[in-house]
Protein backbone atom coordinates (compact mmCIF):
# COMPACT_ATOMS: atom_id res chain seq x y z
CA UNK A 1 0.00 0.00 0.00
CA UNK A 2 2.81 2.32 0.91
CA UNK A 3 4.61 1.46 -2.31
CA UNK A 4 1.53 2.12 -4.36
CA UNK A 5 1.09 5.54 -2.83
CA UNK A 6 4.70 6.37 -3.57
CA UNK A 7 4.23 5.24 -7.16
CA UNK A 8 1.11 7.35 -7.50
CA UNK A 9 2.93 10.36 -6.09
CA UNK A 10 5.98 9.89 -8.26
CA UNK A 11 4.67 11.72 -11.38
CA UNK A 12 3.60 14.63 -9.19
CA UNK A 13 7.05 14.76 -7.58
CA UNK A 14 8.71 14.71 -10.99
CA UNK A 15 6.40 17.45 -12.26
CA UNK A 16 7.34 19.47 -9.19
CA UNK A 17 11.03 19.13 -9.94
CA UNK A 18 10.50 20.14 -13.58
CA UNK A 19 8.50 23.24 -12.70
CA UNK A 20 11.24 24.36 -10.32
CA UNK A 21 13.61 24.40 -13.30
CA UNK A 22 11.79 27.41 -14.75
CA UNK A 23 14.43 27.93 -17.41
CA UNK A 24 13.64 24.81 -19.42
CA UNK A 25 11.12 25.14 -22.25
CA UNK A 26 7.53 24.39 -21.34
CA UNK A 27 6.10 24.05 -24.84
CA UNK A 28 9.14 23.09 -26.91
CA UNK A 29 7.76 24.91 -29.95
CA UNK A 30 10.20 26.57 -32.35
CA UNK A 31 13.80 25.71 -33.05
CA UNK A 32 17.18 26.65 -31.65
CA UNK A 33 19.13 29.09 -33.85
CA UNK A 34 22.77 28.43 -34.63
CA UNK A 35 25.47 30.73 -33.27
CA UNK A 36 26.16 31.91 -36.80
CA UNK A 37 22.50 32.65 -37.41
CA UNK A 38 22.31 34.79 -34.27
CA UNK A 39 25.47 36.68 -35.30
CA UNK A 40 24.01 37.40 -38.76
CA UNK A 41 20.71 38.69 -37.36
CA UNK A 42 22.11 40.61 -34.44
CA UNK A 43 22.61 44.18 -35.63
CA UNK A 44 21.62 45.84 -32.34
CA UNK A 45 24.77 47.46 -30.97
CA UNK A 46 24.60 48.27 -27.27
CA UNK A 47 26.58 51.02 -25.51
CA UNK A 48 29.35 48.53 -24.63
CA UNK A 49 29.79 47.74 -28.32
CA UNK A 50 30.05 44.00 -27.72
CA UNK A 51 28.20 43.21 -30.95
CA UNK A 52 30.42 45.40 -33.16
CA UNK A 53 31.96 43.41 -36.00
CA UNK A 54 35.71 43.34 -36.46
CA UNK A 55 36.74 46.15 -38.80
CA UNK A 56 38.13 49.63 -39.05
CA UNK A 57 37.67 52.88 -40.90
CA UNK A 58 39.12 56.36 -41.04
CA UNK A 59 37.97 59.96 -41.23
CA UNK A 60 39.63 60.22 -44.68
CA UNK A 61 37.82 57.17 -46.05
CA UNK A 62 34.61 58.44 -44.50
CA UNK A 63 34.84 61.80 -46.23
CA UNK A 64 35.12 60.03 -49.60
CA UNK A 65 32.33 57.59 -48.80
CA UNK A 66 30.09 60.46 -47.68
CA UNK A 67 30.14 61.64 -51.30
CA UNK A 68 30.39 58.32 -53.15
CA UNK A 69 27.57 56.65 -51.20
CA UNK A 70 25.25 59.59 -51.77
CA UNK A 71 25.04 60.81 -48.17
CA UNK A 72 25.74 64.39 -49.31
CA UNK A 73 22.74 64.27 -51.66
CA UNK A 74 20.26 64.16 -48.81
CA UNK A 75 22.22 65.48 -45.81
CA UNK A 76 24.10 68.27 -47.62
CA UNK A 77 27.77 68.40 -48.60
CA UNK A 78 28.88 69.40 -45.11
CA UNK A 79 26.12 67.74 -43.14
CA UNK A 80 23.49 70.43 -43.45
CA UNK A 81 21.17 72.07 -45.93
CA UNK A 82 19.69 68.86 -47.32
CA UNK A 83 16.26 67.26 -47.01
CA UNK A 84 17.46 64.68 -44.50
CA UNK A 85 18.28 65.37 -40.85
CA UNK A 86 21.21 67.64 -40.11
CA UNK A 87 24.49 65.86 -39.28
CA UNK A 88 26.69 68.75 -38.18
CA UNK A 89 26.27 70.66 -34.95
CA UNK A 90 24.92 74.18 -34.94
CA UNK A 91 27.29 76.95 -34.00
CA UNK A 92 26.67 77.51 -30.30
CA UNK A 93 29.72 79.61 -29.47
CA UNK A 94 32.68 78.75 -27.25
CA UNK A 95 32.13 76.47 -24.21
CA UNK A 96 28.71 75.61 -25.58
CA UNK A 97 26.31 73.32 -23.79
CA UNK A 98 26.19 70.20 -25.99
CA UNK A 99 22.39 70.42 -26.02
CA UNK A 100 22.63 73.73 -27.84
CA UNK A 101 24.14 72.00 -30.89
CA UNK A 102 20.66 70.86 -31.91
CA UNK A 103 19.11 67.45 -32.42
CA UNK A 104 22.08 66.13 -34.37
CA UNK A 105 22.73 62.41 -33.90
CA UNK A 106 26.56 62.35 -34.13
CA UNK A 107 26.94 65.01 -31.43
CA UNK A 108 23.85 64.66 -29.21
CA UNK A 109 23.87 60.86 -28.89
CA UNK A 110 25.31 59.75 -25.53
CA UNK A 111 26.96 56.76 -27.19
CA UNK A 112 29.07 56.43 -30.33
CA UNK A 113 27.50 53.00 -30.83
CA UNK A 114 24.08 54.51 -31.64
CA UNK A 115 25.58 56.36 -34.61
CA UNK A 116 27.32 53.23 -35.92
CA UNK A 117 24.18 51.17 -35.37
CA UNK A 118 21.86 53.52 -37.24
CA UNK A 119 24.15 54.03 -40.25
CA UNK A 120 24.61 50.27 -40.42
CA UNK A 121 20.93 49.34 -40.17
CA UNK A 122 19.21 52.18 -41.96
CA UNK A 123 21.53 53.93 -44.42
CA UNK A 124 21.80 54.83 -47.24
CA UNK A 125 18.12 55.41 -48.02
CA UNK A 126 17.02 52.78 -50.52
CA UNK A 127 20.20 50.72 -50.12
CA UNK A 128 20.00 49.90 -46.42
CA UNK A 129 22.25 47.13 -45.19
CA UNK A 130 24.67 47.35 -48.14
CA UNK A 131 27.54 49.13 -46.36
CA UNK A 132 30.46 46.98 -45.20
CA UNK A 133 31.55 47.15 -41.57
CA UNK A 134 34.68 49.09 -42.60
CA UNK A 135 32.56 51.61 -44.49
CA UNK A 136 30.33 52.12 -41.45
CA UNK A 137 33.40 52.69 -39.23
CA UNK A 138 34.68 55.23 -41.76
CA UNK A 139 31.39 57.13 -42.08
CA UNK A 140 30.99 57.17 -38.30
CA UNK A 141 34.54 58.52 -37.92
CA UNK A 142 33.87 61.22 -40.51
CA UNK A 143 30.64 62.38 -38.80
CA UNK A 144 32.46 62.53 -35.46
CA UNK A 145 35.21 64.56 -37.12
CA UNK A 146 32.64 67.00 -38.58
CA UNK A 147 31.35 67.52 -35.04
CA UNK A 148 34.77 67.83 -33.34
CA UNK A 149 34.24 64.58 -31.43
CA UNK A 150 37.42 63.08 -32.95
CA UNK A 151 40.43 64.63 -34.62
CA UNK A 152 41.32 64.48 -38.29
CA UNK A 153 43.22 61.32 -39.12
CA UNK A 154 41.35 59.23 -36.53
CA UNK A 155 40.81 55.55 -37.22
CA UNK A 156 38.02 53.69 -35.50
CA UNK A 157 37.53 49.99 -34.92
CA UNK A 158 35.40 47.66 -32.82
CA UNK A 159 37.57 48.34 -29.75
CA UNK A 160 38.05 52.12 -29.98
CA UNK A 161 34.55 53.13 -31.09
CA UNK A 162 32.74 52.28 -27.82
CA UNK A 163 35.41 54.17 -25.88
CA UNK A 164 34.65 57.52 -27.50
CA UNK A 165 33.44 59.91 -24.82
CA UNK A 166 30.47 61.68 -26.34
CA UNK A 167 29.78 65.09 -24.77
CA UNK A 168 26.34 63.91 -23.60
CA UNK A 169 27.57 60.59 -22.25
CA UNK A 170 25.99 61.20 -18.85
CA UNK A 171 24.13 64.41 -19.64
CA UNK A 172 20.66 62.88 -20.14
CA UNK A 173 17.84 61.38 -18.11
CA UNK A 174 16.72 57.81 -18.12
CA UNK A 175 12.99 57.12 -18.07
CA UNK A 176 11.78 56.10 -14.59
CA UNK A 177 11.69 52.40 -13.69
CA UNK A 178 8.42 51.14 -15.05
CA UNK A 179 5.99 49.13 -12.94
CA UNK A 180 2.44 48.01 -13.77
CA UNK A 181 -0.23 50.36 -12.46
CA UNK A 182 2.24 53.13 -11.82
CA UNK A 183 1.43 56.76 -12.70
CA UNK A 184 3.44 58.42 -15.44
CA UNK A 185 5.37 60.47 -12.94
CA UNK A 186 5.24 60.24 -9.16
CA UNK A 187 3.49 63.31 -7.78
CA UNK A 188 2.19 64.45 -11.17
CA UNK A 189 -1.61 64.51 -11.01
CA UNK A 190 -2.26 64.27 -14.75
Amino acid sequence: MKTLRTLLLLPILIAGVVSVQAQSPLYGVGRTPTENEIRLWDIAIGPKGEELPVGSGSVDMGSELYLSKGCAGCHGTLGNGGMAPRLIKRDAGPNADPWDYGRVLPIRSPYATTVWDFINRAMPLGAEGTLTADEVYSLTAYLFFLNDVVEDGTELNEKTLPQIQMPNRTNWEQVPDWLPGQPRLEGYPY
Binding site: Y27, V29, P33, I38, W41, G46, A122, N168, V175
Partner: protein
Protein backbone atom coordinates in the same frame (compact mmCIF):
# COMPACT_ATOMS: atom_id res chain seq x y z
CA UNK B 1 -21.30 64.78 -40.79
CA UNK B 2 -23.40 67.49 -42.39
CA UNK B 3 -22.24 66.28 -45.79
CA UNK B 4 -23.29 62.78 -44.89
CA UNK B 5 -26.66 63.92 -43.59
CA UNK B 6 -27.33 65.76 -46.82
CA UNK B 7 -26.35 62.74 -48.87
CA UNK B 8 -28.65 60.58 -46.86
CA UNK B 9 -31.56 62.97 -47.25
CA UNK B 10 -31.05 63.12 -50.98
CA UNK B 11 -30.79 59.37 -51.10
CA UNK B 12 -34.06 59.01 -49.28
CA UNK B 13 -35.77 61.54 -51.53
CA UNK B 14 -34.43 59.79 -54.58
CA UNK B 15 -35.54 56.42 -53.28
CA UNK B 16 -38.96 57.79 -52.56
CA UNK B 17 -39.26 59.30 -56.04
CA UNK B 18 -38.24 56.04 -57.61
CA UNK B 19 -40.59 54.08 -55.38
CA UNK B 20 -43.40 56.44 -56.40
CA UNK B 21 -42.59 55.95 -60.07
CA UNK B 22 -42.90 52.20 -59.83
CA UNK B 23 -46.13 52.41 -57.86
CA UNK B 24 -44.85 51.58 -54.38
CA UNK B 25 -45.23 55.03 -52.90
CA UNK B 26 -48.87 54.84 -51.88
CA UNK B 27 -48.12 54.67 -48.17
CA UNK B 28 -47.52 58.10 -46.67
CA UNK B 29 -46.58 57.74 -43.02
CA UNK B 30 -45.81 60.83 -40.99
CA UNK B 31 -42.07 60.50 -40.58
CA UNK B 32 -41.09 64.09 -39.90
CA UNK B 33 -40.60 67.07 -42.13
CA UNK B 34 -37.73 65.62 -44.21
CA UNK B 35 -39.43 62.38 -45.03
CA UNK B 36 -42.60 62.26 -47.04
CA UNK B 37 -42.20 58.60 -47.78
CA UNK B 38 -41.12 55.48 -46.02
CA UNK B 39 -37.57 54.60 -47.05
CA UNK B 40 -37.85 51.71 -49.46
CA UNK B 41 -35.40 49.72 -51.50
CA UNK B 42 -34.14 51.52 -54.59
CA UNK B 43 -34.88 50.44 -58.13
CA UNK B 44 -33.62 47.00 -59.18
CA UNK B 45 -30.69 48.45 -61.10
CA UNK B 46 -29.42 50.17 -57.94
CA UNK B 47 -28.99 46.99 -55.94
CA UNK B 48 -25.48 45.90 -55.16
CA UNK B 49 -25.19 42.91 -57.43
CA UNK B 50 -23.46 39.90 -56.08
CA UNK B 51 -19.95 39.44 -57.39
CA UNK B 52 -17.10 37.09 -56.69
CA UNK B 53 -15.34 39.95 -54.96
CA UNK B 54 -18.30 40.75 -52.71
CA UNK B 55 -18.68 37.06 -51.93
CA UNK B 56 -15.01 36.69 -51.07
CA UNK B 57 -14.35 39.91 -49.12
CA UNK B 58 -17.17 42.37 -48.54
CA UNK B 59 -16.85 46.11 -48.75
CA UNK B 60 -18.68 49.06 -47.24
CA UNK B 61 -21.46 51.03 -48.87
CA UNK B 62 -20.47 53.53 -51.54
CA UNK B 63 -22.41 56.07 -49.49
CA UNK B 64 -19.89 55.74 -46.65
CA UNK B 65 -16.96 57.98 -47.46
CA UNK B 66 -14.95 58.07 -44.25
CA UNK B 67 -11.23 58.04 -45.04
CA UNK B 68 -7.82 58.52 -43.45
CA UNK B 69 -5.65 61.52 -44.27
CA UNK B 70 -1.90 62.23 -44.12
CA UNK B 71 -0.97 63.73 -40.76
CA UNK B 72 1.40 66.49 -39.74
CA UNK B 73 1.84 68.26 -43.05
CA UNK B 74 3.94 65.57 -44.70
CA UNK B 75 2.70 63.67 -47.73
CA UNK B 76 1.82 60.03 -47.32
CA UNK B 77 2.45 58.31 -49.61
CA UNK B 78 5.20 60.55 -50.91
CA UNK B 79 6.55 60.64 -54.46
CA UNK B 80 8.53 57.45 -53.79
CA UNK B 81 5.63 55.48 -52.29
CA UNK B 82 6.87 55.81 -48.73
CA UNK B 83 4.20 55.92 -46.03
CA UNK B 84 4.68 58.28 -43.12
CA UNK B 85 1.93 59.34 -40.73
CA UNK B 86 -1.74 58.72 -41.50
CA UNK B 87 -4.62 59.82 -39.25
CA UNK B 88 -7.86 57.97 -38.55
CA UNK B 89 -11.27 59.69 -39.05
CA UNK B 90 -12.40 59.76 -35.41
CA UNK B 91 -15.22 62.14 -36.35
CA UNK B 92 -17.04 59.19 -37.94
CA UNK B 93 -16.21 56.59 -35.30
CA UNK B 94 -18.90 54.58 -33.55
CA UNK B 95 -18.27 52.05 -30.80
CA UNK B 96 -14.74 51.40 -29.68
CA UNK B 97 -13.02 49.44 -32.43
CA UNK B 98 -11.21 51.24 -35.24
CA UNK B 99 -11.74 49.29 -38.47
CA UNK B 100 -8.39 47.88 -39.61
CA UNK B 101 -8.62 49.83 -42.88
CA UNK B 102 -8.94 53.07 -40.93
CA UNK B 103 -6.39 52.40 -38.16
CA UNK B 104 -3.86 55.21 -37.89
CA UNK B 105 -0.33 54.58 -39.08
CA UNK B 106 3.06 55.93 -38.12
CA UNK B 107 6.56 55.00 -39.23
CA UNK B 108 10.07 55.63 -37.97
CA UNK B 109 11.14 57.94 -40.77
CA UNK B 110 8.85 57.17 -43.72
CA UNK B 111 8.83 53.58 -44.87
CA UNK B 112 7.93 51.31 -47.67
CA UNK B 113 5.48 48.88 -46.16
CA UNK B 114 7.28 45.55 -46.48
CA UNK B 115 5.48 42.87 -48.48
CA UNK B 116 6.21 39.91 -46.21
CA UNK B 117 5.45 36.28 -47.04
CA UNK B 118 4.34 34.94 -43.64
CA UNK B 119 5.70 31.48 -44.48
CA UNK B 120 9.17 33.01 -44.76
CA UNK B 121 8.88 35.25 -41.70
CA UNK B 122 10.69 34.39 -38.47
CA UNK B 123 10.90 35.77 -34.95
CA UNK B 124 14.12 35.23 -33.01
CA UNK B 125 14.30 35.46 -29.22
CA UNK B 126 17.91 35.64 -28.10
CA UNK B 127 20.46 37.51 -25.99
CA UNK B 128 20.47 36.91 -22.25
CA UNK B 129 18.38 33.75 -22.34
CA UNK B 130 19.08 30.09 -21.68
CA UNK B 131 17.39 28.87 -24.84
CA UNK B 132 17.42 31.13 -27.90
CA UNK B 133 14.42 30.30 -30.07
CA UNK B 134 13.39 30.94 -33.67
CA UNK B 135 9.64 30.87 -34.25
CA UNK B 136 7.90 30.59 -37.59
CA UNK B 137 4.44 32.12 -37.78
CA UNK B 138 3.05 28.59 -37.67
CA UNK B 139 5.03 27.95 -34.46
CA UNK B 140 3.67 31.12 -32.84
CA UNK B 141 0.11 30.14 -33.63
CA UNK B 142 0.67 26.88 -31.73
CA UNK B 143 1.54 28.83 -28.57
CA UNK B 144 -1.10 29.81 -25.97
CA UNK B 145 -2.82 32.98 -27.18
CA UNK B 146 -4.77 35.90 -25.79
CA UNK B 147 -7.19 38.37 -27.39
CA UNK B 148 -7.34 41.89 -25.97
CA UNK B 149 -8.51 45.34 -26.97
CA UNK B 150 -5.82 48.00 -26.86
CA UNK B 151 -5.32 51.48 -28.20
CA UNK B 152 -2.12 52.76 -29.75
CA UNK B 153 -1.32 56.46 -29.81
CA UNK B 154 1.47 58.36 -31.55
CA UNK B 155 3.55 60.70 -29.39
CA UNK B 156 2.82 63.44 -31.94
CA UNK B 157 -0.94 63.29 -31.42
CA UNK B 158 -1.55 66.82 -30.16
CA UNK B 159 -4.10 69.50 -30.86
CA UNK B 160 -2.95 72.80 -32.36
CA UNK B 161 -4.94 75.95 -32.93
CA UNK B 162 -4.47 75.57 -36.70
CA UNK B 163 -6.32 72.24 -36.66
CA UNK B 164 -10.00 72.33 -37.57
CA UNK B 165 -11.13 68.70 -37.22
CA UNK B 166 -10.69 65.93 -34.67
CA UNK B 167 -8.90 63.94 -37.37
CA UNK B 168 -6.13 66.53 -37.24
CA UNK B 169 -6.18 67.06 -33.47
CA UNK B 170 -6.56 63.42 -32.33
CA UNK B 171 -6.42 61.16 -35.41
CA UNK B 172 -3.12 59.53 -34.44
CA UNK B 173 -4.75 57.07 -32.06
CA UNK B 174 -6.79 53.98 -32.81
CA UNK B 175 -8.12 50.95 -30.98
CA UNK B 176 -8.26 47.36 -32.14
CA UNK B 177 -8.82 43.85 -30.90
CA UNK B 178 -5.42 42.20 -30.95
CA UNK B 179 -4.72 38.48 -30.89
CA UNK B 180 -1.38 36.86 -30.29
CA UNK B 181 1.02 35.42 -27.76
CA UNK B 182 2.06 37.22 -24.59
CA UNK B 183 5.69 38.23 -24.87
CA UNK B 184 6.12 36.87 -21.32
CA UNK B 185 5.10 33.41 -22.58
CA UNK B 186 7.96 33.25 -25.09
CA UNK B 187 10.42 34.97 -22.74
CA UNK B 188 9.71 32.34 -20.08
CA UNK B 189 10.07 29.69 -22.72
CA UNK B 190 13.49 31.09 -23.60
CA UNK B 191 14.49 31.44 -19.94
CA UNK B 192 15.49 35.04 -19.25
CA UNK B 193 18.62 35.58 -17.15
CA UNK B 194 18.08 37.17 -13.75
CA UNK B 195 20.24 40.22 -14.56
CA UNK B 196 18.45 41.08 -17.82
CA UNK B 197 16.61 44.41 -17.55
CA UNK B 198 15.57 45.34 -21.07
CA UNK B 199 14.51 43.88 -24.39
CA UNK B 200 15.24 45.38 -27.79
CA UNK B 201 12.40 44.78 -30.25
CA UNK B 202 13.27 45.10 -33.93
CA UNK B 203 11.34 45.14 -37.20
CA UNK B 204 12.33 43.68 -40.54
CA UNK B 205 11.52 46.76 -42.67
CA UNK B 206 14.33 48.62 -44.41
CA UNK B 207 14.91 50.96 -41.45
CA UNK B 208 14.91 47.98 -39.05
CA UNK B 209 13.10 50.15 -36.51
CA UNK B 210 14.05 49.11 -32.97
CA UNK B 211 13.00 50.20 -29.49
CA UNK B 212 14.20 49.38 -25.96
CA UNK B 213 11.43 48.15 -23.64
CA UNK B 214 11.84 47.60 -19.89
CA UNK B 215 11.75 43.96 -18.80
CA UNK B 216 8.93 44.69 -16.33
CA UNK B 217 6.75 45.81 -19.25
CA UNK B 218 7.86 42.93 -21.47
CA UNK B 219 6.89 40.45 -18.74
CA UNK B 220 3.65 42.23 -17.88
CA UNK B 221 1.37 42.67 -20.89
CA UNK B 222 3.32 43.05 -24.14
CA UNK B 223 1.81 41.02 -26.96
CA UNK B 224 3.21 39.41 -30.09
CA UNK B 225 0.23 40.03 -32.36
CA UNK B 226 -0.65 38.17 -35.52
CA UNK B 227 -4.37 38.96 -35.35
CA UNK B 228 -6.21 42.26 -35.56
CA UNK B 229 -9.97 42.69 -35.49
CA UNK B 230 -10.57 39.05 -36.36
CA UNK B 231 -8.15 38.70 -39.25
CA UNK B 232 -4.40 38.84 -39.82
CA UNK B 233 -2.70 42.11 -38.83
CA UNK B 234 -2.74 44.50 -41.81
CA UNK B 235 0.56 45.22 -43.64
CA UNK B 236 0.54 48.86 -42.51
CA UNK B 237 0.18 47.56 -38.95
CA UNK B 238 3.05 45.11 -39.16
CA UNK B 239 1.88 41.98 -41.01
CA UNK B 240 2.57 39.24 -40.20
CA UNK B 241 3.68 40.09 -36.65
CA UNK B 242 3.82 43.19 -34.51
CA UNK B 243 4.62 43.97 -30.91
CA UNK B 244 2.05 45.65 -28.74
CA UNK B 245 3.29 47.51 -25.65
CA UNK B 246 -0.12 48.53 -24.26
CA UNK B 247 -0.26 52.13 -23.09
CA UNK B 248 3.25 53.04 -24.24
CA UNK B 249 3.79 55.66 -26.94
CA UNK B 250 3.24 54.41 -30.48
CA UNK B 251 6.88 53.91 -31.45
CA UNK B 252 7.34 51.13 -28.89
CA UNK B 253 4.77 49.00 -30.74
CA UNK B 254 7.33 47.62 -33.19
CA UNK B 255 5.88 46.43 -36.49
CA UNK B 256 7.04 43.64 -38.82
CA UNK B 257 8.67 42.20 -35.72
CA UNK B 258 11.58 39.87 -36.39
CA UNK B 259 13.66 39.94 -33.24
CA UNK B 260 13.50 40.28 -29.47
CA UNK B 261 16.92 40.61 -27.92
CA UNK B 262 17.20 40.34 -24.15
CA UNK B 263 19.85 42.72 -22.77
CA UNK B 264 21.11 44.22 -19.52
CA UNK B 265 20.93 47.93 -20.32
CA UNK B 266 19.03 50.59 -22.23
CA UNK B 267 20.33 50.20 -25.79
CA UNK B 268 19.77 53.77 -27.02
CA UNK B 269 18.51 52.70 -30.43
CA UNK B 270 17.68 55.39 -32.98
CA UNK B 271 14.04 55.25 -31.87
CA UNK B 272 15.18 55.62 -28.24
CA UNK B 273 17.33 58.58 -29.29
CA UNK B 274 14.09 60.26 -30.36
CA UNK B 275 13.05 60.26 -26.69
CA UNK B 276 16.40 61.60 -25.47
CA UNK B 277 16.07 64.45 -23.00
CA UNK B 278 17.92 65.72 -19.98
CA UNK B 279 14.74 66.73 -18.20
CA UNK B 280 13.60 63.84 -15.96
CA UNK B 281 10.03 65.15 -16.01
CA UNK B 282 9.97 65.31 -19.78
CA UNK B 283 11.47 61.80 -19.94
CA UNK B 284 8.75 60.41 -17.69
CA UNK B 285 5.92 62.15 -19.52
CA UNK B 286 7.05 60.98 -22.95
CA UNK B 287 6.68 57.31 -22.21
CA UNK B 288 3.40 55.99 -20.80
CA UNK B 289 0.33 57.64 -22.33
CA UNK B 290 -1.61 59.78 -19.83
CA UNK B 291 -5.36 59.79 -19.22
CA UNK B 292 -7.00 61.34 -22.27
CA UNK B 293 -10.38 61.76 -23.89
CA UNK B 294 -12.02 63.61 -26.74
CA UNK B 295 -15.57 64.29 -27.84
CA UNK B 296 -16.01 62.77 -31.30
CA UNK B 297 -19.52 64.18 -31.79
CA UNK B 298 -20.02 67.04 -31.96
CA UNK B 299 -16.45 67.84 -33.00
CA UNK B 300 -14.56 70.41 -35.07
CA UNK B 301 -15.86 70.94 -38.59
CA UNK B 302 -19.24 69.34 -37.90
CA UNK B 303 -22.50 71.25 -38.15
CA UNK B 304 -25.43 70.87 -35.76
CA UNK B 305 -28.77 71.38 -37.54
CA UNK B 306 -30.28 73.35 -34.64
CA UNK B 307 -31.15 73.47 -30.96
CA UNK B 308 -32.51 70.31 -29.35
CA UNK B 309 -31.43 66.92 -28.11
CA UNK B 310 -28.04 65.43 -28.91
CA UNK B 311 -26.11 62.49 -27.57
CA UNK B 312 -22.61 63.78 -27.06
CA UNK B 313 -20.26 60.90 -27.81
CA UNK B 314 -16.56 60.37 -27.41
CA UNK B 315 -13.61 58.18 -26.57
CA UNK B 316 -11.45 58.01 -23.45
CA UNK B 317 -8.28 56.05 -22.79
CA UNK B 318 -5.22 55.88 -20.57
CA UNK B 319 -1.84 54.18 -20.61
CA UNK B 320 -2.20 53.78 -16.84
CA UNK B 321 -5.03 51.23 -16.95
CA UNK B 322 -8.81 51.32 -17.23
CA UNK B 323 -10.84 54.47 -17.65
CA UNK B 324 -12.81 54.77 -14.44
CA UNK B 325 -14.76 57.95 -15.10
CA UNK B 326 -15.40 60.51 -17.83
CA UNK B 327 -16.83 63.92 -17.12
CA UNK B 328 -18.45 66.37 -19.51
CA UNK B 329 -18.61 70.12 -19.37
CA UNK B 330 -20.94 72.08 -21.63
CA UNK B 331 -19.86 75.42 -20.19
CA UNK B 332 -16.18 75.57 -21.03
CA UNK B 333 -14.95 73.70 -17.96
CA UNK B 334 -16.81 75.63 -15.26
CA UNK B 335 -19.04 72.71 -14.23
CA UNK B 336 -18.72 68.98 -14.82
CA UNK B 337 -21.15 66.06 -14.94
CA UNK B 338 -20.49 62.34 -15.24
CA UNK B 339 -20.78 60.84 -18.70
CA UNK B 340 -22.08 57.30 -19.20
CA UNK B 341 -19.45 54.68 -19.94
CA UNK B 342 -20.66 52.54 -22.84
CA UNK B 343 -19.55 48.94 -22.98
CA UNK B 344 -16.85 47.75 -20.61
CA UNK B 345 -13.80 49.85 -19.85
CA UNK B 346 -10.78 47.63 -20.54
CA UNK B 347 -7.16 48.33 -19.60
CA UNK B 348 -5.31 50.53 -22.09
CA UNK B 349 -8.26 50.55 -24.47
CA UNK B 350 -10.46 53.21 -26.01
CA UNK B 351 -13.63 53.42 -23.97
CA UNK B 352 -16.76 54.98 -25.43
CA UNK B 353 -18.71 57.46 -23.38
CA UNK B 354 -21.88 59.39 -23.99
CA UNK B 355 -23.83 62.24 -22.45
CA UNK B 356 -27.40 63.33 -23.04
CA UNK B 357 -27.49 67.00 -23.92
CA UNK B 358 -30.20 69.49 -24.73
CA UNK B 359 -28.65 72.31 -26.67
CA UNK B 360 -30.44 75.63 -26.13
CA UNK B 361 -28.96 77.09 -29.29
CA UNK B 362 -26.61 79.49 -27.55
CA UNK B 363 -22.85 79.48 -28.13
CA UNK B 364 -21.10 77.12 -25.73
CA UNK B 365 -17.94 75.09 -25.23
CA UNK B 366 -17.90 71.30 -24.86
CA UNK B 367 -15.11 69.48 -23.03
CA UNK B 368 -14.50 65.95 -21.76
CA UNK B 369 -12.18 64.83 -18.98
CA UNK B 370 -10.85 61.32 -18.33
CA UNK B 371 -10.02 59.88 -14.92
CA UNK B 372 -8.30 56.50 -14.88
CA UNK B 373 -8.26 53.68 -12.35
CA UNK B 374 -4.98 54.80 -10.80
CA UNK B 375 -6.37 58.28 -10.16
CA UNK B 376 -4.66 60.20 -12.93
CA UNK B 377 -6.83 63.08 -14.16
CA UNK B 378 -6.72 64.56 -17.65
CA UNK B 379 -5.56 68.18 -17.30
CA UNK B 380 -6.97 71.22 -19.00
CA UNK B 381 -4.58 72.84 -21.43
CA UNK B 382 -4.22 75.63 -18.88
CA UNK B 383 -3.27 73.20 -16.11
CA UNK B 384 -0.74 71.44 -18.33
CA UNK B 385 0.83 74.73 -19.39
CA UNK B 386 0.88 75.93 -15.78
CA UNK B 387 2.86 72.81 -14.88
CA UNK B 388 5.46 73.57 -17.55
CA UNK B 389 5.66 77.30 -16.80
CA UNK B 390 8.32 78.82 -14.58
CA UNK B 391 8.23 82.10 -12.68
CA UNK B 392 9.92 83.92 -15.50
CA UNK B 393 8.54 82.10 -18.49
CA UNK B 394 5.03 81.18 -19.53
CA UNK B 395 4.95 77.80 -21.33
CA UNK B 396 3.19 77.71 -24.68
CA UNK B 397 3.83 74.04 -25.42
CA UNK B 398 2.91 70.96 -23.40
CA UNK B 399 6.10 68.90 -23.23
CA UNK B 400 6.10 65.12 -23.20
CA UNK B 401 2.92 63.50 -24.43
CA UNK B 402 0.11 66.07 -24.61
CA UNK B 403 -3.02 64.61 -22.99
CA UNK B 404 -4.74 67.92 -22.32
CA UNK B 405 -8.47 68.47 -22.66
CA UNK B 406 -9.84 69.31 -26.11
CA UNK B 407 -12.39 72.13 -26.10
CA UNK B 408 -14.94 72.34 -28.95
CA UNK B 409 -16.84 75.62 -29.38
CA UNK B 410 -20.38 75.26 -30.65
CA UNK B 411 -21.37 78.53 -32.33
CA UNK B 412 -24.97 79.71 -32.30
CA UNK B 413 -25.24 78.75 -35.98
CA UNK B 414 -24.46 75.15 -35.02
CA UNK B 415 -20.91 75.18 -36.42
CA UNK B 416 -18.38 73.33 -34.25
CA UNK B 417 -14.86 74.73 -33.95
CA UNK B 418 -11.52 73.93 -32.32
CA UNK B 419 -11.36 76.20 -29.26
CA UNK B 420 -7.63 75.74 -28.62
CA UNK B 421 -6.09 79.18 -28.71
Amino acid sequence: MSQKKTDRREFLKRSAAIAGAVGLGAVKPALGQDHEHMPVAPEPGAFIRGSDEMTAYGSRSRFVDSVRIPHGGRESPDAFGLDFHIATPLQDSVGEITPSSLHYMGTTRGSFVPDIDPDAHRLMIHGMVDNPIVFSMEDLKRMPSVTRKHFIECAGNRSRSSHTTIQETHGMTSNAEWTGVLLSTVLKEAGVHADADWVVAEGVEEVKGASSIPMAKAMDDCLLCYGMNGEPVRPQQGFPLRLLAPGFEGIFNVKWLRRIKVVDEYYMTYNDFGHLTRDPVNAALGYQIGPKSVITYPSGGQQLPGAGFYEIGGLAWSGGGRVSRVEISTDGGRSWKDADIRGTAEPMAHTRFSFEWDWDGAECELQSRCIDEIGQIQPSRQQALDFWSTDGERATFVKGQDNSIQPWRVASDGGVHNAIS
